[in-house]
């Protein structure tokens, strides 16, 4: 049974500053969310598999971690937080009048291929604005995403906007079969320029082709929107993104905004604006979100919704490491002097002093030596004195 002293692949122990670095990000994010009127909800660690499978969750079955409830029903460890929160919003009608701002600070669980260094346990902080449609709701969620990354202290970051409707409209002009649309979507998502060209070759006559061919390259600053209009003509999706950009720029957020019209992931799930946040130092997006107007309805209460989630550890890894406090003082006290000793510990910066559990001063001095402390502070009948180690 030797293996039982190791943790399973994809899980880990976190010690000291590793915990602090995670907590710091969570604290900064949730403070912002509460400030903006979002209320915290927490949902079960395990829920029925069908909740995610039948509501069109984007998480593949093989990436969910399976467990069973006491009756033998098939459950999974929460693979994402938006689906359970949509369930809450749809079913707790009295407690959740719409529109509603909700936030969460909880872990999602996803299994990874072996030996890829990924974690099965991903702490996320996120918000959902449920029961609100339109530009103001989208703008609010996007500025909250930008402020979320800013509040974490990320030195260089950007939030990239796309729109599910743009790809749908262009794909519609080609009149392809469903699986061909899916193949094209995959090529655009993977920015597979060469294969996309080959795929579009038989459709050269169609004017939508030029735009689709360039779609995976349509990312960058606001000039992307002009290029898109030149290629595809006026479209509601690009017009909408331009309106959002004007609004965001007027509020001073323009510098953080980029566009990627080739952002076509989870195209059946997202119904409007989609976005991702990138931070220098992280090898993948650390924030992901968008508008999903059909999910809540799947649980029996129609409600348009938008939101995002932040990968807490991914953000934490890009921030400067926290330096642990250095222990300077061991506090030794004789019976009857606990109150004074505690006052001395509580009056110093956290982690720089601690009570000695030793009975004799000599043992406390040895302890101080072992732990590298500079001094032992003694409380006894003679009052308070410092003994250098």
């Amino acid at each position: 049974m030797r293996y039982t002293i190791n943790t399973p692949e994809g899980t880990r122990d976190r010690l000291f500053t590793e915990c602090q670095e995670r907590r710091q990000v969570q604290a900064r994010l949730t403070r912002l969310f509460r400030q903006r009127g979002f209320l915290e909800v927490s949902t079960p660690e395990t829920e029925f598999y069908d909740l995610f499978a039948l509501s069109g969750s984007a998480i593949a079955q093989e990436r969910m971690i399976k467990v069973w409830d006491p009756s033998g029903k098939f459950c999974v460890m929460r693979p994402d937080s938006t689906t359970p929160i949509a369930r809450v919003a749809a079913t707790k009608r009295k407690a959740v009048p719409l529109p509603q701002r909700l936030y969460y600070d909880q872990t999602v669980y996803r299994s990874n291929p072996a030996h890829n260094g990924g974690s099965r346990e991903i702490p996320q902080c996120g918000v959902e604005l449920i029961g609100a449609r339109g530009k103001k709701a989208d703008v609010e969620i996007i500025v909250t995403a930008i402020d979320a990354l800013r509040s974490c202290g990320a030195p260089k970051f950007q939030v990239e906007l796309g729109h599910a409707g743009f790809f749908r409209e262009l794909a519609g002009r080609l009149e392809l079969a469903e699986d061909a649309v899916e193949e094209m979507r995959r090529l655009i998502e993977g920015k597979n320029f060469a294969a996309l060209n080959d795929f579009l070759e038989p459709h050269r006559g169609n004017p939508a082709c030029a735009a689709l061919e360039r779609l995976s390259r349509l990312f960058g600053g606001a000039e992307v929107l002009t290029q898109a209009e030149r290629l595809a003509g006026k479209t509601p999706a690009v017009d909408y993104l331009a309106e959002l950009y004007d609004e965001l720029s007027a509020a001073g957020y323009g510098q953080y905004i980029r566009f990627d019209l080739g952002m076509v992931h989870q195209i059946d799930y997202y119904t409007g604006v989609v976005f991702r946040g990138y931070v220098e130092g992280a090898g993948d997006a650390v924030l992901s979100g968008g508008r999903y107007d059909n999910l809540v309805g799947a649980f029996g209460r129609e409600a348009q919704a938008t939101g995002f989630a932040v990968d807490v550890d991914a953000v934490a890894r890009t921030l400067p490491e926290i330096t642990p406090p250095v222990l300077r003082t061991i506090v030794h006290y004789e019976p009857g002097y606990l109150a004074q000793a505690l006052e001395a510990v509580d009056g110093r910066p956290a982690g720089t002093s601690e009570l000695s559990p030793c009975r004799t001063l000599e043992s406390s001095l040895n302890l101080a030596r072992d732990k590298g402390a500079e001094a032992v502070l003694v409380f006894d009948k003679d009052g308070e004195r410092t003994v250098r180690v």
Binding site: N116, N192, F219, A282, G283, D284
Partner: protein, 215 residues
Amino acid sequence: MSERLKIAITKGRLLDKSVELFEAAGLDCAPIRDPGRRLVHSLPNYPLDAVLAKAPDVITYVEHGVCDMGIVGKDTILEKGGSFYEVLDLGFGRCRFALAVRQGSDFYGTYKTRRIASKYPEVTRTFFEKKGMDVDIIKIEGSVELAPILNLTDAIVDIVETGATLKANGLVPIEDVAQVSARLIVNTASMKLYKAEIEDFIARCEAELERREHD
């Protein structure tokens, strides 16, 4: 240009061809040609650092974002998968995946579950999954041709360049599984954060590839 990009290049034949391409595109690759004991090779006239790695490791480094770009064969991409942008077909390292059987055997003419040997179990699985066919896949690490000769399997799925090895062992390719060539891949975050730098590098490669096409 502010940022120095890092690229992982697959060692071996793809490396020679990559260096040829870079040099034709105006990049001084002397540090790669004469690596000495260094592991990271900084190009003197372009903001690019190169590391050399085995093919699957190229994908690993790019996926984790410790390298911004990579050059790797489509065979490895198909087998290993992963999340990155596959932006250019570099045109060299061309070969194909083929399904090959013993000369004279009728692979599809039976209801029995076929057995396939391959170094590429994922490529094999996807190929037969698309056909809606159940097969047993046995992973072989060395010369795959041995498996049907020893009667372990009915067929193989493997990389074919000239077909000479197959022929010498009494095997014939009966179907193409996929075309393979070297690809330029890019980390998803790097593509966004260092757009200008990466687009410049892609454009230089593209220009050279286009020139070759017209030669």
